[in-house]
């Protein structure tokens, strides 16, 4: 594990939220790495400061009184207005507000995808980039990086197709430096997604491939906590590569991958 991979997991680890296997790998790395230990201490210091300095506001007496009044009102009215089969969560009210937002959004001629997260849509696209990095980190930390190990795309493609609601293309090799190692089914934006895994030197490269219809706007190139995220479109798919690899190299690779899938090389018969 290198520092970029480790530092992505430090927050979850310090929150006690990292799975045992990943935590063990991280502990090993941190034991020998001063930079990551310093980062861990900085996270702990921030937590101490927040808990010591940011006030946890207690409900004032006036609020207690108002709530008591509501309880009394409810007690009086229950028998008369008992609502049959009330929905378990007050989601509809929230949806209505999001719907209002959707109207405004539609004016901008944006293809409105997930209505619920509309208000956050600008950030949500960034979140997917970050989520892709998190998935990559979780996969490299744990044992789940590759579920089907094969450098043969004719093995990988049907394996993926059997597990996904869409047919993820697995292009012919486009760059001898990037060797197909296998694939796994991961999730992005709460949907299952194909993750092709390539080896580049001793780095693991994840390429998340999902239908354009599922994909929103996102930067072509981003750097999240030291990981490069490069994105290209082709063959009706969004191709998002994540790796601790130079931005230019990764962007070139993912662009060729997307283009290669869109216009497959003629197969010699």
């Amino acid at each position: 594990m290198n520092c970029a991979e480790a530092s992505a997991g430090l927050g979850a680890w310090s929150d006690g939220e990292l799975a045992a296997g990943a935590a063990m790998a991280l502990r090993e790395h941190v034991a020998g790495c001063t930079a990551c230990r310093a980062e861990l201490e900085a996270l702990a210091a921030l937590r101490r400061d927040i808990r010591a300095e940011a006030p946890r506001h207690a409900a004032p007496a006036s609020l207690h009184a108002r709530v008591r009044a509501e309880m009394a009102r409810h007690g009086d009215g229950t028998a008369a207005t008992a609502a049959p089969a009330a929905p378990p969560r007050p989601a509809p009210a929230r949806r209505r507000w999001f719907l209002a937002g959707a109207m405004a959004g539609a004016l901008l001629a944006v293809g409105v995808g997930a209505l619920t997260e509309l208000v956050l849509s600008q950030r949500a696209s960034d979140d997917v980039t970050i989520e892709a990095v998190d998935s990559h980190v979780r996969a490299t930390l744990g044992q789940r990086l590759i579920e089907v190990a094969s450098s043969d795309r004719h093995t990988v493609k049907p394996w993926l197709s059997a597990r996904l609601p869409y047919a993820a293309p697995v292009p012919d090799p486009v760059d001898p430096a990037f060797v197909l190692a296998g694939a796994r089914v991961d999730s992005l934006d709460r949907r299952p997604v194909a993750a092709l895994v390539y080896r580049y030197g001793n780095h693991s490269v994840d390429v998340f491939v999902r239908p354009l219809a599922d994909a929103g706007a996102a930067p072509a190139l981003a750097n999240v906590r030291g990981f490069t995220v490069a994105r290209a479109l082709g063959a009706g798919m969004e191709w998002r590569a994540v790796a601790d690899v130079d931005a230019g190299v990764l962007a070139g690779f993912v662009a060729r991958l997307a283009a290669g899938a869109a216009a497959p090389l003629p197969v010699a018969r």
Binding site: A8, G11, A12, D15, E17, A42, L43, L46, R47, D49, I50, R51, A52, E53, A54, P55, R56, H57, A58, A59, P60, S62, L63, H64, R66, V67, E70, M71, H74, G75, T78, A83, A86, P87, P88, R89, P90, A91, A93, R94, W97, A100, G101, T116, V119, L120, R123, D127, I130, E131, V133, D134, S135, R138, S187, R190, R225
Partner: protein, 175 residues
């Protein structure tokens, strides 16, 4: 058990958590009271949907929805207003907070200045000490997103000029 008795024994103990969340999200003590009152009305109405043992995340989900509805009615606010707003808030806080004003205001201001998606995960994690799973339920996002938003929120807080000022002050005081 009647609705009222259930509400009183399961939901009411979390009124502080509810107010704290609403207070940080609305950044206003009066608005927070309005929001929590509305959340209580909804909680009473939907009490049948509450399963035992889940009262806190259940109620906080309702509080969050009520807050977002309220913020929607008010129209979107610029998130950079936060610094000024919290500085102006100082008078409304209990006196025992005032003696630690130096650090408290800078850090509180830095949190208040975070964009809503980051602010809510920080408040739920660091002040309410909820698990990633509970936060995921309340904020209606996958656990991976909880993790990435927390990481981002913490990075933003550590980078905030207010905290750098504190660190510099401490370093100066120690030497």
């Amino acid at each position: 058990m009647t609705d009222i008795a259930r509400f009183e024994s399961l939901v009411l103990p979390h009124l502080d958590a509810a107010y704290n969340l609403a207070r940080w999200l609305t950044r206003d003590p009066h608005d927070a009271e309005d929001v929590v009152q509305e959340a209580c009305v909804r909680a009473l109405r939907y009490l049948a949907g509450l399963r035992d043992g889940e009262a806190r995340p259940w109620f906080l989900t309702i509080v969050r929805h009520a807050t977002y509805d309220w913020l929607g009615r008010q129209g979107p606010r610029g998130d950079d207003e936060g610094l000024a707003e919290v500085a102006g808030d100082a008078a409304a806080e209990p006196p025992q907070c005032a003696e630690r004003r130096g650090d408290s205001r800078a850090l509180a201001a830095a949190i208040a200045a975070l964009a809503l998606p980051y602010r809510e995960v920080i408040v739920l994690r660091e002040l309410e000490e909820l698990s990633y799973r509970e936060i995921a339920t309340i904020a209606d996002i996958p656990i991976g997103t909880v993790m990435s938003r927390l990481a981002r929120a913490r990075a933003l807080l550590r980078r905030s000029p207010a905290l750098h000022a504190i660190a510099a002050q401490r370093a100066g005081g120690e030497s």
